[in-house]
Subunit: 363 residues, 2 copies
């Protein structure tokens, strides 16, 4: 048996100059961290670009030499949804991120110091334009598919709209062509939590204590929106930490409180608060009403208990695509796991995605 | 015409000694701020106790001498839901609050300083035991009805369960007999926002700058849960503050962001951060599985778009009451206004509540 998870992978970096941005500024140099799994075929028409969500990284697949499995590793490997025997999988860290790609924590060549808030506000379109440069550098003219969930789905949509000749298919998970007012509201409260932390220092905290408390708060708020009420109820209900009842104080009483604290505190060890600001802003700005340029076969997948990107919004996107006579398939996966379902529902997603990619690659 | 809203009202105070609390401690003295509207009848059987939600106060009805209408003033007056020609309405500020009743900002007689975190953690049952003392002092043995929304509904439920002989009817709005894991999670993130603010000083900020930033954040989080996605979409959608597009920075872009900032900043002018901690904790602790003692006629009202206390939870409460053969009526009001609907849906609630009270008072 082929033990896929022990195949070591390493993050590589691609650097290029002068990326023009939606805000009117340009960024130079730009480094994009990426990993690949599987091999390109002779005709180089088997490449799948995987696009990560807010807290993801280039490390999507096989366990790396530090023993860390990738954020979607159950979906990547021989016989899996993204079958490495068939496809050449590329995953890159988004522009503005903090896991190897250029972002607010990178050194500004003009000053020799980290950008901080002088980093330009980037958009989802800026992210995919950087990815396009990487894909070209890897010798790929046309992608078999782009695939992503949440803000990764926004990137996949933007790919399909902006590079119709280079995108044969797109799989959009737990996403819509814009985020709701409620989604903006949650993102803004998370940003306010970070920017209210005295350690944030207007974004200029590199070399000092970072705004851990604010970032942990933002992550806690985020986590509530990633789970469904149903999954929180199943996981925690009103279970208490102490067996002998209430504690009559302001430390943790309930398991759900411990879970949030744990998630918040773990996140600050691996994520940069400024990147959180930039990426959530890009998410809020994303709004793609005009779908007319899309040529890709579109596969929209929603999850029944996702309330951050609810099925109703995915269906509205499907209707918009239908009205433009696009090739679109829709599936709502029944799941209690909320928005996070796109990371967790391995069995149904593997069936759906591998079937779809098979179909696309045969054409 | 009788201009009800110009009838001046004033908040009065009732003080008593030694309230035993669920946590095992006692509080003394206890002051409860209250207002009344209408008059008790000769047999003193027309009293209705109105119970406020997290941010309410004793000032529920007629506009006061500062020109401020009460938090439920459209429901209080001649011909209104709580008809002052028929009923004697009592509304008191909850124990632990910050609008005249004893709370963490009150002076501890033992030290001469504000309690801060040395104030005991109180429960919904503690709140209603203090109310019972006030009601008795007003010469009322039996209440015609108790009525409240959100944590006010929890108090009404507790009244019905703990004082069955003194509670003829209860109207429970936008509430359940416990809060969900998701509700606890939101409350905890709000508390963490307050307690993370350096101005909080472990609760000992009286006489110093209070933790405004943390309290505003907590309120912003709360406000998202009080509105529905639908009402946010109707009210704001993705409307921008600037007509000429995105701002490419981290100040407000969207109307929904301004709204949240406004709500957060206005709240800190009138509310004490420690009271926010104590009241949300009481809300989380509330859990009334045993409904067997209830003798009151129960009226449970939910709102279709309320996701903090969704109709499914109200229906579960109705089923529990039915299983115990209690007298219970249920109504789901169709409203896009989310949890806040219990403050806003004047027309349908006026019909429902006045009909119910009429029926109870005729028996």
């Amino acid at each position: 048996m082929y033990v896929v998870d022990s195949m070591p992978t390493a993050t590589r970096h691609y650097t290029f100059d002068a990326l023009e941005l939606d805000c009117g500024r340009a960024l130079s140099p730009v480094t994009i961290a990426y990993e690949t799994y599987g091999q390109p075929n002779a005709s180089k028409d088997n490449a799948v670009l995987l696009l990560h969500a807010l807290s993801g990284s280039a490390h999507a697949g096989f366990t790396n030499d530090k023993g860390e499995p990738g954020w979607w590793h159950e979906f990547i490997g021989p016989g899996r949804a993204l079958d490495t025997d068939k496809y050449f999988i590329i995953c890159s860290n988004i522009l503005g991120g903090c896991s190897g790609s250029t972002g607010p924590g990178s050194t500004d060549p003009k000053t020799g110091h980290p950008y901080g808030l002088s980093f330009p506000v980037i958009t989802v379109a800026d992210m995919i334009r950087a990815q396009k440069r990487l894909v070209e550098a890897l010798g790929i003219d046309t992608l078999l598919a782009v695939i992503g969930g949440s803000i990764g789905g926004m990137q996949a949509l933007q790919w399909a709209a902006e590079y119709p000749d280079a995108t044969r298919a797109a799989v959009i998970l737990a996403c819509a062509n814009r985020i709701s007012a409620q989604g903006i509201a949650f993102n803004e409260v998370g940003r306010q939590a970070i920017m209210s932390d005295p350690c944030w220092r207007n974004g200029d905290y590199y070399g000092h204590t970072p705004p851990r408390v604010g970032l942990a708060l933002a992550r806690m708020i985020g986590h509530i929106t990633y789970l469904s009420e149903e999954s929180m109820h199943e996981k925690f209900g009103r279970a208490l930490k102490k067996v002998d009842g209430y504690h009559y104080g302001f430390s943790e009483d309930f398991e759900v409180e411990s879970y949030l604290h744990y998630k918040g505190n773990r996140f600050v060890e691996r994520f940069d608060a400024n990147s959180y600001l930039y990426i959530t802003k890009a998410m809020d700005y994303f709004d793609l009403p005009d779908l007319s340029s899309i040529a890709a076969k579109m596969f929209i997948i929603s999850f029944s208990s996702d309330w951050l990107f609810p099925p109703a919004q995915s269906k509205a996107l499907v209707r918009s695509l239908r009205r433009k006579s696009k090739d679109v398939t829709y599936c709502e996966v029944q799941s209690s796991r909320g928005h996070d379902a796109f990371l967790l529902e391995v069995a149904p997603l593997t069936e759906l995605i591998s079937g779809f990619l098979d179909n696309v690659s045969r054409q």
